[in-house]
């Protein structure tokens, strides 16, 4: 009887905690996507870029994404080089998202569902622009109980996977030099 009770209690607890985390994530996502749309609507392009960078820096796991993209090179480079690379990556990601959204004012992001998986949460959303709609899935991980975006999957294509392959190729060409990769990123960011 006691075992049964514990089991039922555990089930209820799991359900409640998952409802709580879903609600929490839903609020977090609504706030983030709302700010995202608000920034896109901005008329001032320079301000738009800066605001977008701040939003990304706050809500994306920049450390985790950028360092995972270079794999073992994390241990082979100085803190200064890594910091410069992370800054260049943040600008690169901001530029990628900026160019993706700059022509699409008047768009909306609708939350579809939130699913939990072994690596965190998958937040399914639909970006609507005029009559078109695009599926965007945000992979979110809880780092010290704070949600951070780990990957954006647009129409089944993962940003992280695409960048991993791109950066691997660039590193192969430069014989594993993080400084050269950073230079390339900075060059692209200033273009």
């Amino acid at each position: 009887m006691s075992k049964k009770f514990k089991f039922i209690f555990l089930l209820i607890f799991i359900n409640i905690s998952s409802i709580h985390s879903d609600e929490y994530l839903e609020k977090w996502f609504s706030s983030m996507s709302g700010q995202f749309i608000g920034i896109i609507e901005s008329e001032n392009n320079e301000q738009l870029f800066e605001d977008l960078r701040l939003l990304i820096n706050k809500n994306f796991a920049i450390n985790s994404i950028s360092l995972s993209l270079i794999g073992r090179l994390v241990n082979k480079n100085s803190v200064n080089d890594l910091d410069r690379y992370k800054k260049a990556f943040l600008d690169h990601l901001t530029r990628n998202l900026y160019e993706l959204v700059e022509n699409y004012d008047g768009q909306t992001i609708e939350l579809e569902k939130i699913e939990e998986d072994t690596n965190g949460y998958l937040i399914y959303s639909i970006l609507k622009y005029k009559e078109k709609s695009y599926s965007i899935v945000w992979r979110v991980g809880m780092i010290e109980n704070i949600p951070y975006v780990l990957d954006i999957i647009i129409e089944n294509s993962s940003y992280y996977v695409t960048k991993k392959s791109e950066f691997s190729n660039l590193l192969r060409q430069s014989k594993g030099s993080l400084i050269e990769l950073t230079n390339k990123l900075e060059e692209g960011n200033n273009r």
């Binding site: 985790s64 360092l67 995972s68 990628n96 992979r139 780092i143 780990l150 089944n156 993962s158 695409t162």
Partner: protein
């Protein structure tokens, strides 16, 4: 253009399809793919023809810049949004009979009836220019023989870039050839079939115009980006759980 499309191009497609099946496509695909797990998580695409593929992509980009992009830009400039949407709907509607048949082959009768219903509803109410059927609960579903083969467990085989047509792989190429033969639209005659093929190809190019231009200007390696985007998109269309299999960044303190 008509002759080139109908004679040489079709001959190549026929020969390719015969070759694929003569060489026992699945056995070939299994033999050449050394690591299925790498393929399934979307991080690795088997690409033994990379050198020639890169050359063909280079040709395709130049061809696109010279011949297609000006057409797309002109078309978008003179066509009002509502007309552009209507034309997109028209060619999308012409794909519904093929979608219905491929669902039938897959044994998914509900979706097959759904696509057939969409075609009948949209054609009778607006000649396919407006998606009326979405208002009566018949949602658009994508399917083709490449997806059917993928769901049947056939592996992708080597990645290919076809002149003008763009990225594909052995499985999807076989799918495209099959699509061509089983598409009921072709019963309407060769000229209708050609107009449908060219029109829907152009329409896809118009739809992906912004994305392609972003990719051209943003990507450090356009070939690699196109390859991965194509592969991941097809993986997602074949396997709904594809997203769960994708690699995830390692967690560091933020």
């Amino acid at each position: 253009m008509y002759k080139i499309f109908n004679l040489n191009y079709l001959r190549v497609l026929r020969i390719t399809s015969i070759c694929i099946f003569l060489f026992n496509f699945e056995a070939l695909a299994k033999e050449v793919i050394s690591d299925e797990n790498k393929i399934s998580n979307g991080t690795y695409v088997y690409d033994p023809f990379e050198r020639i593929n890169r050359k063909i992509l280079g040709f395709n980009i130049v061809f696109d810049d010279i011949a297609i992009q000006p057409l797309v830009t002109g078309y978008k400039a003179i066509t009002p949004d509502i007309a552009e949407k209507g034309i997109a709907n028209f060619f999308s509607n012409l794909k519904e009979p093929l979608t219905s048949i491929t669902f039938l082959i897959q044994g998914d009768f509900r979706k097959s009836f759904n696509s057939a219903g969409r075609f009948i509803t949209n054609t009778t109410t607006s000649l396919g220019l407006y998606d009326t059927s979405k208002h009566i609960g018949l949602k658009k579903a994508k399917n083709d023989m490449g997806i059917v083969l993928g769901k049947a467990g056939i592996k992708t085989g080597p990645y290919l870039i076809i002149p003008i047509l763009g990225p594909t792989n052995f499985r999807d190429l076989a799918g495209r050839v099959s699509d061509f033969y089983i598409n009921p639209i072709h019963l309407a005659g060769e000229s209708t079939s050609s107009i449908n093929s060219i029109g829907s190809g152009f329409n896809s190019r118009v739809n992906y115009n912004n994305e392609l231009n972003d990719l051209k200007s943003n990507s450090n390696d356009l070939y690699d980006s196109i390859k991965l985007l194509y592969h991941q998109r097809r993986m997602g269309e074949i396997n709904k759980d594809h997203l769960r299999d994708l690699p995830v960044p390692r967690i560091y303190i933020e």
